[in-house]
Amino acid sequence: MSDKLHIADETLHALIDGELHEDERTQVEAGIAADSSLAQRATLFRADKARLAEVYGRVAELPLPPKWIEMIERRPRTPRRFLPVQTIAAIAAALLVLVGGPLLYRQSAPHEEPIVAEALDARSDTLPPREILAVNTEAQTMAASHTIQSALAMKVRAPDLSRMGYTLVALRTYDRVSSGKAVELLYRHSGNRSFALYVRKPSGPPRFDQYKQGNLRVCIWQDDVIGTVMTGEMSAAEMQRLASLAYTGLES
C-alpha cells in the first residue's frame, strides 16, 4: 500500500494559483515533493499557465484602434432625471464661478492635478531629480526597468516605443513629490522630437484625458494602481497611439 499523500486535482491547482493557506500549502508541497510524477504534472500545469499569459498577454500591448476611443467619446450625453437637484447644482456652480471662479479653476483643470503639475515641472527641469541615468544600450534599458521597479515598488518596466520610432534615452528619478517617489522616462524620436512619460502612484480616481497646452500635448492616464502623464509636441492621434503603447508597455 502506498504511503503517498492523496492530493485532489483541485488542491493541486489551488496550490499553483496561490489559493492555499500557508499550512495547507506546506502540506501539499511536501506531498508533491514525495511524488515525482505529481511534481512533473505540477510543473507542466505551471508552465501552461505561464504560456497562456505569455501568448495572449501581448495583445494588450497593441495600440488601441482610434475608432473605439472616438465611439466612446461620441456617446450622446444622457439627460439627468432629477431636475430639482440639477437646478440647485447649477445655482451653486454659478455662485462658485462668481465668488471663487479662479480658485475652482486651479483645482479642477486637468493640468493642475498634482501628478500633471509634477510631470510638467519635471519636463521643464523645475523639479530637481534625485538621479539621472543615460540610456544608450540594451543593458542600460534593462537597468532602467530595474530602477523604475525599485523606485516605485511596482512591477513595471520601461515601455518599448520603438514601434512608433521613439527610443528611450534617459531616466530621471524623483523623491520629493507628493506621492513620495516618481520617475520620468525620456524618449527621443529620430526627427528629434521628445516624449516624456512621468510615472508614480495615482493622484486621483481612474481617468483618461488628453489636452493641448501651448504646443505641448498632455495625456493623463491613471488607474487605481498607477498614474502616468505623457507629454510631447505631437498630434492628438499620435499621442493616442503612443499613450496606448506606453501605458500597456509598463506591464512587467
Binding site: E10, E19, P65, P205, P206, V225, T248
Partner: protein, 197 residues
C-alpha cells in the same frame, strides 16, 4: 486564501460613475485588457476586435444598467462572453469552420520561427477547449483573478470554479500532449491515479 492579483487585474477596479466623463475614462482604461481577453477567447486578434467593437456598442447603449462602478470589468466581460456565444451559435448553424493555423499566425507575429511551432500548438489546443473551459482558464491565467472573484463573476460556487478549472487544465494538457483531436477523450488525473493504483 491569499492572492495577490497583478496590476492588470486591479486596473479600473475602483471607479466612480458620477459623471459620464468618468465613465468614459474608465471604459477606455478597460480596453487593453478587454481586447486581450477577447482575442484569447475568440482565438484571434481580428475576431477579438470584432467582439470588443460589438461589446462597446452594447455597453454604451446599456450604460445606465451598470449600477456598481466597481463591476465595470466583469460587466464588460459578461457582455463580451454572451456575444461570443451568440457568434459561435451563428457559425455552427451556418457550418462555418475557423482556420486555426491562420489564427495562430496572428499571435506569432513577434516571435522567432523556432518558437512558432509550440505557439501554434498552444493556440490550437486553446481553441479546442469549450467556451466554458476557455473562459475559466483565461480568468485565472490571463486576468489574474482569484477563485472568489471568479465565483462572484460567474455566479457559481467556489467548488465549481475549482473543479471546472481542474478539468479545463487537464484537457488543455491533454490537447498539448496528444493533439487537439484526442483532447475531448481525456481522463481526469484522479481517474489516472485510481487506474494506476
Amino acid at each position: 486564501m491569499p492572492h495577490t492579483p497583478g496590476r492588470t487585474a486591479d486596473r479600473g477596479a475602483v471607479l466612480s460613475r458620477d459623471t459620464q466623463g468618468e465613465f468614459n475614462s474608465a471604459l477606455i482604461a478597460q480596453l487593453p485588457g478587454l481586447r486581450r481577453y477577447a482575442a484569447a477567447l475568440a482565438g484571434s486578434v481580428a475576431a477579438g476586435d470584432d467582439l470588443v467593437q460589438d461589446c462597446l456598442e452594447r455597453a454604451l447603449r446599456q450604460a445606465s444598467r451598470l449600477r456598481e462602478a466597481q463591476k465595470l470589468a466583469p460587466w464588460l466581460r459578461s457582455i463580451l462572453h454572451n456575444l461570443f456565444i451568440d457568434e459561435l451559435r451563428r457559425k455552427r448553424s451556418r457550418g462555418i469552420e475557423e482556420d486555426i493555423t491562420e489564427m495562430a499566425d496572428e499571435f506569432a507575429i513577434s516571435v522567432s520561427p523556432v518558437e512558432r511551432a509550440p505557439l501554434h500548438e498552444f493556440t490550437a489546443a486553446m481553441d479546442s477547449m469549450s467556451p466554458e473551459h476557455r473562459q475559466i482558464l483565461l480568468l485565472v491565467g490571463l486576468e489574474g483573478m482569484n477563485y472568489r472573484q471568479i465565483a462572484d463573476e460567474l455566479h457559481i460556487p467556489m467548488g465549481t470554479v475549482m473543479s471546472r478549472l481542474a478539468r479545463a487544465r487537464e484537457r488543455l494538457r491533454n490537447a498539448l500532449e496528444n493533439g487537439t483531436e484526442r483532447a475531448s477523450n481525456v481522463t481526469p488525473l484522479d481517474a489516472h491515479r485510481k487506474l494506476a493504483g
